[in-house]
């Protein structure tokens, strides 16, 4: 297996862990954690494809990932603020109970 394939297998595994976490957990913070894991799996893919591309000289992959990390940080801040807002309304952070905005 080449190094690139190893990276991809690793990132897929990470993605699956994140997906299972996001789907199976009822604690909203853990769901957010799962989403972060999936994001990081995507970041690893960026880096891997950049690093093993024929001409990795310009730092495109790294720049993408730095942007994505910055966005993820903002997303985490918003997500946690939402969790706190949800907690104030329903006194717990169970995701399946947060359905009052349904159509």
């Amino acid at each position: 297996m080449t190094a690139l394939q190893l990276c991809l297998v690793f990132s897929s595994a990470l993605f699956c862990v994140g997906l299972v976490g996001a789907l199976a957990r009822s604690n909203t913070i853990l769901v957010l954690l799962g989403i972060e894991l999936m994001l990081n799996a995507a970041n690893i893919n960026f880096i891997a494809f950049w690093r093993f591309s024929p001409s990795p000289a310009p730092a495109t992959g790294v720049m993408f990932v730095i942007f994505s990390i910055a966005v993820a940080a903002a997303e985490a801040a918003v997500g946690l603020a939402l969790v706190i807002a949800v907690y104030r309304h329903q006194k717990n952070i169970r995701l399946q109970e947060a359905n009052r905005l349904k159509g």
């Binding site: 997906l19 789907l23 009822s26 730092a59 790294v62 995701l95 399946q96 359905n99 159509g103």
Partner: protein
């Protein structure tokens, strides 16, 4: 025997492995977690001794081992390890004190159900702290610095079910973050102007002549040299971490954590990291000393902040009643001494005091822990008393620690290191204020420590708990004895007659004892001052001891206003509540109003506008175009209803659909082949 700089990373790695083991063991595996932590620390201690051997062989060199972390654009971000006597002495101190405190914790945390988590956090802390020490890059130092802050947060809030502990953890984290913002800004500015963050890099590091002359040649705002501004920004970080005025408020509250944590993190090591940082970047801090045209030098600020902190901490400690709070404010005061020493230009005196303080303050905190453990978590000295006969080992070792802290002459380490600082302050020609503040704090230190010992160990037991106190187990008294021996012996590494430690830190191979007579006048004065403090303390609190835990404090009866003001910690918390918190709340309210009325108002206005246009349209359309659209709308409504049934509001449902869609897409791509 020696450990080369290339292998220096092993020292922080071992505790990190122990932390990982601790994290992965189940809750019942406390013996495994504790054993791994102690074993890793002991091995780190041996490695540190090896590093010390290497460093002392060539004390004048800064051995480095640098590597590129990652390439980015034009250059690479480089990190590295640094081995010089400063690193080596700090490593030995942290690992040695750390090992003893870990052993003590096995006894102290015996009854706690979460003990394995405790050892995991302690190991994480030790690893991060050692990372701060061995780093040869401000960036690596900063990363470890933040990890240290995280570990401190976790450990202060270890008993998080207590609201005070949870609040104290938050307070510590946020207060130090204010200082860290300055450190981060200083770091970015430094990188921007020198293009490197390595301390030493064969002539290209930021602490070497080339970068320093470039920094001093540059004038930034207000006529300051660039190095002054960057130095002061870095100092902000040290102010936060080392509990200096005005960011000291978190340190006394941090005593909500378990006592071994107070001993390790909030007395011996982490709070000293700020002093270590300033000693490490001392070439940068002192680079502007030669400039005459600047308004003031960076080190002058350091000296004054240190002097204010030293006096303020000692004053507040006089009026506290909680055994750990007294020690906490004493730590604040001693850290002020260290900053003062750096400010007046003697960073070696600061590091000497840092090392001796680490041992005797850890001893005092562990002694306090032993008392608290024996007295069933009674921490108020007014309700203790008479423990001398029940806890002989604890009393003897605590008394040694107390005398080292008070600076009892000639035998105890604290005397020699404090003397070095006062001597340096005496020779400083900018201002007399730091020396006077330092001398005043000497009296106060001797006074409040005498009070603490007299109230806790002498007199008669004033509560049920202290009446039935009994000596702690060997796992707790053994570290006390070892630390007590160190609290005496360590002083002789740096007496004026034979300043071996100072010479090694400065990189001089020849040990030259500067004459004892040079500072003997000052020494006599401080001996008198210590005697004055001890005597007054004993006269007020020792001769006539307290009868009941509720009987009034003799000093508070004499000066009620002053003691109440000091007892309320000079009202710093109230001051911040009235200023910073108010400002923060006002900003939040402003943002809320902006969001709720201005932006929301604009949106509502647009919506109204649209509604109005709709009404006009309807009036126009009602008669003309109606009939044909009605049927169309009806079918749209039906579709909408069907779709709205899919909107269950259940986020998991949405996630599931996304995931299934994803799988279907992947399947299509795989089966469809490449096009």
């Amino acid at each position: 025997m020696g450990l080369s700089v290339q292998n220096l990373w092993l020292i922080p790695l071992l505790p990190l492995v122990a932390a990982a083991i601790g994290a992965l063991t189940p809750r019942t595996g406390r013996t495994l977690a504790a054993g791994a932590a102690i074993l890793a620390m002991s091995f780190s201690f041996l490695l540190s001794c090896g590093a010390l051997v290497t460093a002392l062989a060539n004390p004048a060199t800064h051995a480095t081992s640098n590597f590129a972390w990652f390439d980015l654009g034009m250059g690479a971000l480089r990190l590295g390890w640094l081995l010089d006597p400063l690193t080596a002495f700090m490593c030995v101190m942290v690992t040695f004190v750390g090992t003893l405190i870990f052993i003590f914790s096995t006894g102290y945390m015996h009854e706690d159900a979460n003990a394995k988590q405790f050892f995991c956090f302690l190991s994480l802390f030790a690893s991060a702290m050692l990372g701060v020490i061995v780093a040869n890059s401000l960036l690596l130092l900063f990363v470890s610095w933040e990890l240290v802050g995280l570990a401190s947060y976790l450990l202060i809030g270890f008993w998080f079910h207590k609201p005070e502990a949870a609040g104290a953890a938050k307070k510590a984290f946020i207060t130090t973050r204010i200082g860290d913002l300055g450190l981060l800004l200083g770091m970015l500015w430094l990188y921007d102007s020198t293009g490197s963050l390595l301390f030493y890099d064969g002539g290209h590091g930021v602490l070497e002549a080339g970068a320093l002359s470039a920094l001093t040649a540059h004038t930034a705002l207000g006529g300051f040299a660039l190095s002054t501004i960057i130095g002061l920004l870095i100092f902000c970080g040290a102010v936060g971490k080392s509990g200096q005025f005005p960011l000291h408020v978190w340190l006394p509250d941090a005593m909500e954590g378990p006592t071994p944590v107070s001993a390790l993190i909030h007395a011996a090591t982490m709070v000293a990291a700020g002093v270590f940082l300033i000693a490490r970047v001392y070439p940068l801090m002192s680079a502007d000393q030669a400039l005459a045209h600047v308004p003031f030098h960076a080190l002058t600020v350091v000296a004054f902040i240190g002097a204010i902190t030293a006096l303020m901490g000692a004053l507040i400690a006089v009026a506290q009643n909680d055994i750990k709070r007294i020690l906490a404010f004493s730590t604040v005061s001693q850290l002020g001494y260290m900053m003062l020493a750096i400010g007046v230009g003697s960073w070696v005196a600061a590091i000497f005091h840092l090392l001796t303080h680490a041992f005797f303050k850890a001893l005092l905190f562990l002694g306090a822990g032993s008392v608290i453990h024996a007295a069933h978590h009674e921490q108020d000295i007014r309700s203790l008393g008479g423990l001398r006969s029940h806890m002989k080992v604890t009393f003897a070792t605590f008394a040694i620690g107390m005398m080292a802290l008070a600076g009892v002459p000639f035998l105890f380490s604290g005397f020699w290191s404090k003397e070095g600082i006062l001597h340096a302050a005496h020779e400083w020609d900018v201002s007399r204020v730091p020396l006077l503040f330092g001398l005043a704090a000497v009296v106060l230190t001797a006074f409040y420590m005498t009070r603490l010992v007299a109230e806790t160990f002498f007199g008669k037991a004033r509560s049920h708990a202290s009446e039935h106190a009994h000596e702690s187990p060997a796992s707790m008294t053994l570290p006390l004895v070892v630390l007590a021996v160190c609290a005496i012996a360590l002083g002789f590494l740096g007496t004026p007659a034979f300043p071996w430690l100072q010479a090694k830190l400065l990189g001089e191979t020849e040990v030259l004892g500067h004459s004892l007579l040079a500072g003997s006048g000052l020494m006599m004065l401080s001996v008198v001052l210590v005697a004055l403090g001890l005597g007054t303390g004993w006269a007020i609190y020792g001769r006539v001891t307290r009868e009941k835990s509720t009987s009034p404090d003799p000093l508070a009866a004499r000066f009620p206003g002053v003691i109440a003001f000091l007892g309320a910690r000079m009202k710093f918390d109230e001051l911040y509540a009235a200023t910073v918190f108010k400002l923060n709340a006002a900003t939040a309210t402003f943002a809320d109003v902006l969001d709720r009325f201005v932006w929301d108002g604009a949106v509502r206005f647009l919506a109204r506008l649209g509604e109005f246009a709709g009404v006009v349209n309807r009036e126009a359309d009602e008669d003309g175009l109606n009939a044909g659209f009605d049927a169309g709308s009806e079918s749209l409504r039906g579709t909408g209803k069907a779709y709205s049934r899919a909107q269950t509001g259940d986020a998991h449902g949405y996630l599931r659909i996304i995931a299934i869609g994803f799988v279907v897409l992947v399947l299509i791509m795989m089966l469809g082949g490449n096009r």
